[in-house]
Symmetry: C2
Subunit: 242 residues, 2 copies
DNA sequence: TCAGAAATTTGACTTGGATCAAGCCCCGTT
DNA sequence: AACGGGGCTTGATCCAAGTCAAATTTCTGA
């Protein structure tokens, strides 16, 4: 594994505070590979053999049932995913596929479990990580249960407008639709319907023309939209999606 | 605090393996109180001062937004709740109220954080607990996103039929409806509509008259319905709802 | 640069589920 | 036994969102 990659991984909150030797051991037993787009990395139901870390590209976490499929999250560098399944040595609850050419590091789940039993600092980091992930899914569930799809979309746009009033959607619209729990057709119409509420769309480019009006639709609250960290569709940086 | 209660709490997977002195210290700083029904124990948004443990009765975890409200889980003895908020020293994401006369133990969040930083076995137990809770909410989200309400209801009934074909609903129907993300009216109609699919209802009593037919509707799968532990509406025993 | 494929949008239509409004039933109280 | 209240059911209606189909734009690869 390249030194630059090792440093990036070491910098993650998950690994930052752990013992250096332990980190070294963990990484010695790790793989690091390039994958083309649209490759399935993980299939739900399979035993959780590896903790995955995206170092380049982007990975979609999704779940299926009875012929239907839904996007649960998108993971961007540098971040880990499916930590929880590895810790519990339980089957993955979500599948994962690359969305573009990606570079993925894989750490054996057994090594992970052995290490966190020995390294208190690592165990603490895992605790914080998992607690953050848990809260992130709770927010997602609240979003789904408490808001209508138009409101979810409005809130999503506000979460991503951060300061500047214009930004590019981080994923294809059909993926966004799936993440928000609606059909692409409905997303398209909902976007248009938000025109009078201060949203203008051109391709992937979204401009908030009237933040106050949009806020009135979305009623954003940190208890749903807030981030202590990981989770949302475009999250980039040092956190994980379990 | 009564010795019997202490032992019950000590028996939880969360506290079982930790150092005896640490457990003692934790409990010395803890409260244990009786509450009448319909008392609000926690309001979402408040700082997470205490880890709560139900030793008797039942507690509803719910969340609100913009005048709407939804039930997220019901916690029964002996189990903890809102662990994640305490660990992260972050605001509660859910409110909690007693559903009947209940007895609740409360452990100061600061004690909790101090102890898990010092006690590796405790940290490990927390890791497992949180991983289980995380997976439980992921299942809930998958249930909401992938199944229609009739299918969710069918799956719920199968989860609770465990062996015998008849059981009593563990909560009022309106609470069940809210948990399943539908209105009481819709639940009532959905229950009736499952008649031809092997469900007969009399008040709180549900009888599965044709499990195969119901399975055909629900398509149950461990990746949504499975339990590695906590979460569901009627879960009783040694686990938690973070 | 162009052909073909994929993604998005639009339109017409259907439907699952919400809403509103009675009415019913169970149950504990007086 | 009558009363009252809450929860549950039923019926009528409405609306958000899904489905199906076709047109259009965007992207991609030869």
């Amino acid at each position: 594994m390249r030194n630059a990659d090792l440093e990036e991984i070491r910098d993650l909150p998950l690994f930052r505070d752990m013992d250096g030797d332990h980190f070294g051991n963990l990484m010695r037993g790790a793989y690091h590979q390039n994958f083309p787009p649209q490759v399935t990395l993980i299939e739900e139901g399979r035993p959780a053999d590896f903790l995955h870390i995206v170092t380049e590209g982007a990975v979609e976490l999704y779940a299926g049932w009875n012929g239907r499929e839904t996007t649960m999250a998108v993971v961007r560098p540098v971040a880990t995913f499916i930590l929880a399944a590895c810790i519990n040595d339980a089957p993955y609850l979500m599948s994962a596929r690359t969305m573009m050419p990606s570079r993925i590091a894989m750490i054996a789940g057994s090594d992970l479990r052995a290490t966190f039993a020995r390294d208190a600092a690592f165990a603490q980091a895992i605790v914080r990580e998992l607690a953050g992930c848990y809260r992130s899914v709770v927010r997602h569930a609240k979003d789904l249960k408490l808001r209508a799809s138009r409101e979810r979309l409005a809130a999503y746009l506000l979460r991503h407008a951060r300061g500047s009033g214009a930004f590019d959607l981080p994923v294809e619209k059909r993926t966004l639709a799936s993440y928000l729990g609606m059909t692409p057709e409905n997303l398209s119409r909902a976007l248009k319907s938000l025109g009078p509420d201060g949203v203008s769309v051109d391709g992937m480019r979204v401009t908030i023309t009237d933040a106050a009006a949009l806020v009135a639709v979305a009623c954003p609250t940190p208890l749903i939209d807030g981030g202590d960290g990981c989770g949302d569709l475009s999250y980039t940086g040092s956190s994980s999606n379990c």
